[in-house]
């Protein structure tokens, strides 16, 4: 028989999961939203000189993304704000719907890529104050990340000290692509401040190094190449930190690699250990096999999740890395968002699911 139906969508059922999301991107309605948090001096600078990052493009990324604002096409709030800029819509579309018990904000505002070092520091501080006022004060499920400009490590250390007093900030945020490999000594003051305050370093993919993403070759042709190049960028920064002796200097320092995926880690460990067994005398300050530093000091977020042909291979890789080092993340509202209900194609046993979705992040960040 013929049955007429009602128009429209059913409300999608909220998941019964309770997850910690380690990567949520808050956005501004417009750059002017930051102005109240900048001093007169820097507002005037911005009006006169604008942003001046280490690349030719001032207000966009080096490679065009396949979607506007790098966002899910359904992430534009009905009120016309950019994706990630409207807290009510974020609650409805993500925090409530996906059972996000705690979400960690990753504010990507390019503080570390400014050629004007002082302005980069001022920008970082403004973003941190904006995070507190616009997000943390209004939504108790959210936590902040202390944005710093690593190119001025002393100012960065001061900003870490200032923000660390606010316990809603749970890590220090910097991009893996800096002026120099981040393990080098000139950056150590910021790592020292992070370690002293018991704050992990969160490194979210990106940053503009000023060099082609191919690490030594020329500029690549496609976004697809640039997207992949986030992986060697993460490998390079993790390797730099290990071989410079950063973890000998700061044995309590913890590092989270965010959005850099993780399946590459076992191969990097094997290769570095092989090199170390032959070349150890070049780096005598690296007292143990590199794999041990990588196992002890690094955590990894899941998105964009690896999707091996045989889904079960993912379990094997995670067991090599350690299930205690893998933490769920969505990247909301960006286009390669992972949904907690469907992210794993392999069957993961209940204990490991709990660790990945909730307990590892709670333990690392001391979340309550």
């Amino acid at each position: 028989m013929n049955i007429a139906v009602q128009d429209g969508a059913l409300a999608r059922q909220a998941t019964r999961l309770s997850v910690v999301d380690c990567d949520i991107h808050p956005q501004m309605r417009s750059p002017a939203e930051l102005h109240p948090f900048l001093s007169d001096r820097w507002r005037q600078h911005l009006a006169t000189y604008s942003n001046f990052p280490r690349q030719a493009l001032s207000e966009t990324l080096a490679y065009p993304r396949m979607t506007p604002d790098v966002a899910r096409r359904d992430a534009w709030p009905p009120n016309g704000a950019p994706p990630g800029a409207d807290l009510d819509f974020m609650r409805e579309q993500h925090l409530d719907l996906n059972g996000v018990e705690i979400g960690i904000l990753i504010a990507l505002r390019g503080a570390g890529t400014q050629r004007n070092i002082e302005y980069g520091g001022a920008l970082a501080r403004a973003v941190n104050e904006w995070q507190a006022a616009h997000w943390l004060d209004r939504e108790p499920r959210l936590r902040g990340s202390i944005l710093i400009n690593p190119e001025d490590p002393f100012a960065a250390a001061q900003e870490i000290e200032r923000c660390a007093r606010d316990k809603r900030f749970v890590q220090v945020l910097l991009p893996p692509r800096a002026n120099e490999p981040l393990g080098r000594k000139r950056y150590w003051p910021l790592f020292e401040a992070a370690a002293r305050n018991g704050l992990p370093i969160g490194m979210h993919v990106g940053g503009v190094s000023g060099y082609p993403c191919t690490n030594g070759s020329g500029h690549s042709s496609y976004y697809m190449e640039e997207h992949y190049s986030q992986v060697p960028a993460m490998q390079a920064v993790a390797t730099s930190m290990v071989v410079e002796g950063l973890f000998e200097a700061f044995p309590t320092l913890k590092v989270v690699l965010i959005e850099g995926s993780f399946a590459w880690l076992p191969a990097l460990k094997w290769r570095l250990d092989k090199h170390w067994s032959r070349l150890r005398d070049e780096v005598p300050h690296v007292k143990r096999p590199p794999s041990e530093y990588l196992r002890e000091h690094f955590w990894f977020t899941t998105q964009p999740i690896e999707e091996p042909d045989n889904p079960e291979d993912l379990n094997k890789i995670m067991s090599w890395i350690g299930y205690d080092r893998i933490m769920f993340s969505t990247d909301y509202p960006h286009w390669d968002f992972d949904d907690p209900r469907y992210v794993f194609k392999a069957k993961i046993d209940e204990q490991h699911r709990r660790m990945i979705f909730r307990e590892n992040a709670r333990a690392l960040y001391g979340l309550e």
Partner: protein
């Protein structure tokens, strides 16, 4: 299996879609150049609402440097990760055997045919002069 009146023909413009709920399931009704197709509104990859995606063409290449765009407006690109689905088959372009969207049979029927016989039309006003899109499910 029952037949559900989901829209009038004039309601969905070519290239557009309408989201309806039938038997508790969300279904997108798509108009491609006057033909109608019904697809489950859930991406088989990670569950995104497919009706929020864009209709695109199929970019093809026989060799590097040679490009052409075929079947303009016939592929649905998922609003999240960009998987391309052939609306005519429900299959994804990159993994047609394993990653596909459920399709439902669609027909177009005249209003006066619907008014004949023992049909139940609870909330949908049917007018003789209109044509209607019917989904079987």
């Amino acid at each position: 299996m029952s037949r559900h009146v989901v829209a009038t023909v004039g309601e969905i413009a070519p290239g557009a879609n309408k989201l309806v709920t039938v038997k508790g399931r969300e279904i997108g009704i798509y108009n491609i150049k006057g033909e109608f197709f019904a697809l489950a509104n859930k991406c088989p990859h990670e569950g995104a609402a497919l009706c929020k995606g864009r209709m695109v063409g199929l970019a093809q290449s026989d060799a590097p440097g040679q490009y052409r765009l075929e079947r303009q407006g016939e592929l649905l690109k998922c609003p999240w990760h960009g998987w391309e689905f052939d609306v005519r088959t429900g299959q994804s372009w990159c993994d047609p055997e394993n990653t596909y969207v459920r399709q439902y049979a669609v027909s177009v029927e005249a209003g006066d045919d619907l008014l004949k016989g023992p049909y139940v039309l609870e909330t949908f006003k049917v007018a003789v002069e209109q044509s209607y899109i019917i989904v079987e499910m």
